[in-house]
Amino acid sequence: MVSTLPIKAVELEPWHKDESIQLPPLSIEIPSQGTTCLIGNSSTILTEYLRALGGVDDLRNGQLYLFGDPLAGISQEQWQQLRLKIGFVSRTAPLLSVLNGLENVILPTLYHKRMSRAEAEAAAKGLLLELSCQADLSLLPAYLTPLERTQLAIARGIILEPPVMLLEEPYHELNSSERGSITSFLSAWSKEHSLVVSTSNLNFAKKQADRIIFADKEKILYFDSWQGFVQSDETLVKNYLQQYRDSYYL
């Protein structure tokens, strides 16, 4: 169990794709258990904050501490070692197309020499069982369904048993009937680990979020619960929720 905070951001400002726009600073301490949801109007901005929080991209301003240590100035080797402790499943970084499903999941363990091949395969199959994944693991990712690819990507992201995982829009390719298995797994996983999810799936945030960060290009808002979020007087939040007022989610 990790004693220090897995992620601490102090006045963290990510780079926006339009560099002339300066995003508002984010300050947060993410504990070692529970689910933090990043919500907002722009998925691009959410991704930029998520990547900054995960130590993936350079910061425009501010400080990021991962497991108590500042990210600034670390070497490439240290950054690579850090990746073993922070799972990051990116929407835009899919599975390796030239390896089959099982090989994709066990690749990190083989590369980092964490387990023998037999142990890695057993661990991967165990994880995929927890994810209710029924994919034919001998197939290349291109032949799998979006749900199966998402399940494999999550399994690959946590097979090294990182204490914290950041997920970028895990539901973006899934229809509502496919979301249950992912949500059940993430719910169980976040009881003992730290999960940070950028999502537009408000149903997930409603059920799972222990804290919500509403990120917009104008300001950042912090909420301790879903109730706090929906009862907010902030116009930005009201307008955002307005879009979903009559929807399935609320």
Binding site: G54, R83, L95, L96, S97, P108, L110, K113, A153, L160
Partner: protein
């Protein structure tokens, strides 16, 4: 008018300067690329782990084993069209020693290296460039970086080793098949006396030439892999860049291999 002429002169000199600097810049980029790849390989706790070993085996199968039919066909065709003709032609004007010198120096040590390199560039070099470029555009490479996997160690090193070992193995295979088949054809259809070359040729190789041959083909294989990987990873935004980079990889590989071959021949002579 004078200002216009001056401005044109500046533009022209700028263009000439950029063109002149292009080749040195490219060579510096390639050198830095290979140094970084080898540095990351050296920094790894083990030169090859199970994941990179699988990648290397895959590369050897693709670049080496799968290329055997093409190399076999090419070497037999060279034996028929070049070696047998050389034997017959040189025999008319020279001694048996001249035939052996031509077969060892020209066919086995020079022709074999170049033709094998051409096949490797066309088959594996272009495939490596396209493969890496697609993976980079699809962000598959970033996905692995986020898992703490070193791109140079996982993607580049196995490919460099794969093309280097494949070039070495294929050139030896090509040289043997082409010389033996050429002698067999000439001996069978022209003069049975030519069969004696089969026994004489292996003894005619100079150790210095063999070392140079090994060094040259190591360099060829390494360069083919390096140039292919370098251009594959140069793709940034669009799929339209892939054929452009593949084309550059092929042309640059061919140019550099031929120039290097010429330089080595010049130095060794």
């Amino acid at each position: 008018m004078t200002r216009l002429a001056l401005s044109r002169l500046y533009l022209l000199s700028g263009m000439v300067g950029r063109q002149v600097l292009r080749l040195p810049n490219y060579l510096i980029d390639l050198t830095v690329f290979i140094i970084r790849a080898l540095h990351d390989w050296r920094m790894a706790s083990k030169l090859l782990n199970r994941a990179t070993y699988s990648s290397l085996v895959g590369q050897l199968i693709f670049s080496g084993v799968d290329a055997l039919p093409a190399i076999t066909l090419l070497s037999l065709a060279s034996g028929l069209g070049i070696v047998s003709q050389l034997i017959i032609t040189v025999q008319v004007f020279g001694e048996a020693g001249d035939v052996i010198t031509v077969l060892t120096q020209v066919v086995a040590l020079e022709l074999g290296s170049l033709l094998t390199a051409i096949v490797l560039i066309g088959r594996s070099g272009s495939a490596i460039t396209i493969d890496l470029a697609n993976m980079k555009l699809n962000k598959e490479i970033e996905g692995l970086e986020l898992l703490g996997i070193n791109v140079n160690h996982f993607f580049i090193t196995p490919r460099l080793l794969g093309t280097t070992i494949s070039q070495m193995a294929l050139v030896v295979y090509f040289s043997i098949i082409s010389v033996v088949s050429g002698v067999m054809i000439a001996g069978t259809f022209v003069n049975a006396g030519y069969f004696k070359y089969l026994a004489d040729i292996p003894l005619a190789f100079d150790p210095y030439d063999l070392i140079l041959f090994l060094f040259k083909n190591l360099a060829f294989g390494l360069l083919i892999g390096t140039i292919a990987c370098y251009h594959g990873l140069r793709v940034e935004y669009s799929r339209t860049e892939i054929p452009q980079q593949a084309q550059r990889a092929i042309i640059n590989s061919l140019s550099i291999i031929f120039i290097l071959n010429g330089l080595i021949a010049l130095v060794s002579s």
